[in-house]
Symmetry: C2
Subunit: 589 residues, 2 copies
């Protein structure tokens, strides 16, 4: 069978069941070859080969609409919907994103990268269809790991009441990225063990009709199940038990490791580039493991992404009940941390910048209003971080720094990160967020204070009396280089490490102005609008004697951008910053 | 029985059951008298008299800890924990807040005003206790209406796995603020109808042990149930069926109307001040009902607060399937709206400013990333709005205006609000949020455009060439008055209605500077930091020829503040703004 002749799902709807089995085998083989050479989401896609084939075989896509939760399991979907080359021809491997994208195909309804959203989105499609009088099937595909997210549970609760055609495929592989955590997983297990017949049933309890498919990687069973619910007139859950990593022994055996991975050796499953430089996750792990040992009230919390924090299964085991994975549920993580802190615990919640967005309200209500000394470590909050449009780490400064009560710290290097993290956990006066720097680890060899309780005191690193560079966090190195360029140009430039993103040091700003500084550059590793620099610009703008230019990312959503190109576009380069400051200075007016 | 002799729960633990019955009757009587004279949350408190008495009778508070969800049902709790006077003596009615508050009493664990947080917070207390080796009971009290919130469902899911003493009292009165919406409510009903014996059980499906109390306003039954779970060694749900408004016939009969109310006539239940001036909610209702009639694809969406939108039960009936109450679940509302908009529907989600915080991530991921033309109307986003610390409407500008892709409009009066709302629903190019003005309705008699698609074009309302006032939304009237004051002082002041909060009109800003304007005031009805004014300050700060002062609320959490006093403190007064601008002008340097 020549996979490249499959241009759309119509091409598989004429196949016999035997041909579909062969198709599935070939899809898996090609997929594995790409994954081994290119990396990507491995386990989720290997486990969803047959369900994808069956969905497109049974449902009349794209008129019938499929919404994939997280959408990192849509590689086979892409292969069947006009994008086969991106999986069979190495020259085209990068033609497609790792998620659904309407710009790529009409079969992709939404750009999705966060978990737990499919039921809400599909519910809206159901409603719009019903108001219009349409008849198409609306299908949402959601993994068991995504079910713990509040939005998914809200979507299950409300979706059940829509009263018309709405098919939810629950892809149950008994795993989140790591193992599942939460009471609902006992129920899913019971349903698997009873072939779907257990009377206590989460989905029924939330108002859904229910079907169970024991062999969720068997085409015949899947086709039968999907045909039985096609054109159904009410909401129904089709619970399918699948094997994460199905068809590839190493991925079946090591499901967490093979959730997402870099290129690997196909015969053995060994990663091809094993010597990775230590990252800030390793530092977080080492520092927090020490804290855990020293104080039984310390607990490290993750919402389903222990690997981001450096916590491997072995380390989790070592941390014992002082490591808490609440599952994919950031709201719970933040509220839980607040409760712990209230009762004398020392919670350290490690979270990816763009996932923290889920806990915005909890940061204000559960934490700030109650002034509970929660510690948050924000990973990938950087232009240098993840560059998928659904995972941008650009927005957390504008988010966290503008919530009253939170102290938001931006370390510039390994040494400062350790100092700030240690203080954050030791103190019990404030909720503190620490922004883990982006890019590779910077070791400055500098010494840093062990106390940051005198809030918003900037560090004057280099004196200067004509211009100043205030460079926060990851951007400190660029700021330092800009000051060097200026120095070579004969311009006296002050260099400031602001340390705090959540407030400004008006004394130091006044001092700069008094010394004669006429132009200031603020550098931050995030969006300018609503960010840190604008606080400084607003402060100086009222007096009018110092010009300020704020450097950072544009208020835009960019997908798979080139990091270096974006930095240049934002003029986040030492020479450009130096030139701007000189141009802004009075002598050059 | 003299209620005022009850100083703490210890005083009721020595009472006989008969005395407790009498106590409950007297508590209800005093509470009703205060509610009739003072207003407040009526139904939730009347229905929770006996459970509160039983909780404090059985559990050893404050060593045992009770966390109340939303905490608007804690009036009886306050009466029993040292704050009786605030309910029996009219002179002290305002001594306490309407929510729990640790500053008032050690029996109040957290300041809580948003729904669905109790399980997270209590879960954290459980964890901290277990790490410490404590033995106290941790109790969370949550109403059925709060269960639809994602954070509550996340909390149920994860809380079940904590494996130690954790008692959740589900206060099931078959109501949210309005009627319940969601599939879980069918299950709660089935549990009520089967005396808790139905095998399909939401709580068991989420991993909890389970008890049922059919008569949740009966002291004996409650005491027995609570005693049976006191010191239990694992998580357990005690599901109690209560009567909202219990013991007061008008509140039992009209449960939505009596959820929260102004003072009323005790014998009849009639509200004492029925002639209320029409508000923006009435305008929203009238305008959207017309849209609903004109286009079957329009739907108004609420997340459990239809009354905020002006949608009474009658109006909801009239709107039929074009009015959607998703229950308390803002994430679902936003994702659902995005799905609808994607499929050609015209969703209009009306939401309270501080509750929208729950949907921050969805505004970015589900909506902005997909550029779905969702319409949001944000109510109470104002310093003049709700003044409880848990319900501040100060933060939505910094939140919404800094998410790429969203158009955020700030109408200044009734006429402009109607124009902007109409455009938002008619167009399909952008997600649009409209900020419903705060305070009483302003009718300007002015005419406004019917098209706002040329983004970020400010309106120059009055010409001026020395200073300028850029006054957004609710603050336009103060800005206009400031310009009048300046005019009387002989200062030529421009007046600008920016209309957009999400972007700036650099052409008009340049024009002002070119004309000779040297000082600009920006006025906004929210926090300055991260807000609209700082965008203008940053723009001018780079050039340095125009001074800018940003007026708005401080980055603080204030509780029950005096609105006029806060405006004055923020210098949001015409005379103060005029004086500042004069002082900032070069002649006065």
């Amino acid at each position: 069978m020549d996979l490249n002749r499959i241009k759309s799902p119509a091409d598989i709807r004429t196949m016999s069941i035997d041909e579909l089995y062969e198709l599935s085998a070939q899809l898996r083989k090609s997929l594995l070859e790409k994954l081994a050479a290119h990396g990507g989401h491995i386990g989720p896609n290997l486990g969803f080969v047959e369900p994808t084939v069956a969905l497109h075989y049974v449902f009349n896509t794209p008129e019938d609409k499929i919404v994939y939760d997280v959408s990192h399991q849509t590689y086979i979907h892409k292969m069947l919907t006009g994008r086969m080359e991106a999986f069979t021809d190495p020259a085209h491997y990068d033609d497609v994103s790792g998620f659904t994208d309407p710009a790529e195909s009409p079969y992709d309804l939404f750009t999705i990268g966060h978990t737990s959203t499919s039921l809400s989105l599909a519910g809206g499609l159901v409603k719009a269809r019903d108001l219009k009088g349409g008849k198409e099937n609306i299908v949402a595909v959601i993994g068991d790991g995504s079910l713990s997210g509040g939005q998914a549970l809200e979507g299950l609760d409300f979706g059940a009441t829509l009263g018309s055609n709405f098919v939810v495929v629950v892809n149950d592989n008994d795993m989140s990225i790591a193992e599942n955590h939460g009471g609902i997983y006992d129920n899913l297990r019971e349903l698997r063990q009873t072939n779907g017949t257990a009377p206590c049933n989460l989905f029924k309890a939330m108002g859904w009709d229910y079907r169970y498919v024991a062999y969720g990687n068997d085409l015949r069973a899947l086709i039968n199940a999907f045909e039985s619910v096609k054109n159904i007139d009410h909401p129904v859950v089709v619970h399918i038990a699948t094997q994460k990593g199905c068809g590839y022994a190493p991925a079946e055996a090591n499901r967490e490791e093979f959730h997402f991975g870099a290129p690997f050796d196909l015969p053995t499953g060994q990663p091809l580039n094993i010597s990775e430089a230590p990252g800030y996750d390793d530092i977080f792990l080492a520092e927090t493991m020490e804290m855990i040992k020293a104080d039984k009230n310390v607990a490290v919390i993750t919402a389903g992404t222990p690997g981001v924090l450096g916590y491997t299964p072995d380390m989790r085991k070592l941390a014992g009940d002082q490591f808490v994975d609440v599952g994919i549920s950031e709201q719970e993580a933040m509220g839980f941390a607040s409760g712990m802190a209230k009762a004398g615990g020392r919670p350290i919640f490690g979270v990816v910048s763009s996932f923290l967005q889920r806990a915005y309200d909890q940061m204000e209500q559960d934490v700030a209003v109650n002034n509970t000394p929660v510690v948050v470590n924000i990973f990938y909050g950087s232009i240098l971080g993840m560059n998928d449009v659904t995972h941008l780490g650009w927005f957390d400064i504008a988010m966290v720094a503008n919530i009253p009560g939170w102290v938001y710290l931006a370390p510039t290097c390994e040494e400062e990160y350790k100092s700030m993290l240690a203080w954050a956990v030791k103190q019990t006066q404030y909720p503190v967020a620490v922004r883990v720097p982006g890019g590779s680890v910077v070791s400055s060899g500098r010494e840093f204070p062990d106390d940051y309780s005198d809030l918003n005191k900037f560090e004057l690193v280099e004196q200067g009396n004509q211009v100043a560079v205030i460079a926060a966090g990851t951007m400190f190195g660029i700021g330092q280089a800009a000051v060097n360029v200026l120095s070579h140009m004969g311009v006296s430039a002050a260099l400031i490490n602001p340390r705090y993103l959540s407030g400004i040091d008006t004394a130091i700003l006044d001092e700069l102005a008094a010394k004669g500084v006429k132009a200031v550059a603020t550098l931050e590793d995030g969006v300018v609008e609503g960010g840190f620099g604008e606080k400084i610009a607003a402060y100086y703008a009222e007096k009018g004697d110092v010009k300020v230019k704020c450097y950072g990312a544009p208020k835009e959503l960019r997908d798979r951008y080139d990091r270096a190109a974006l930095l240049k576009e934002c003029r986040l380069q030492p020479d450009l910053i130096a030139a701007d400051l000189v141009a802004m200075s009075p002598a050059n007016k």
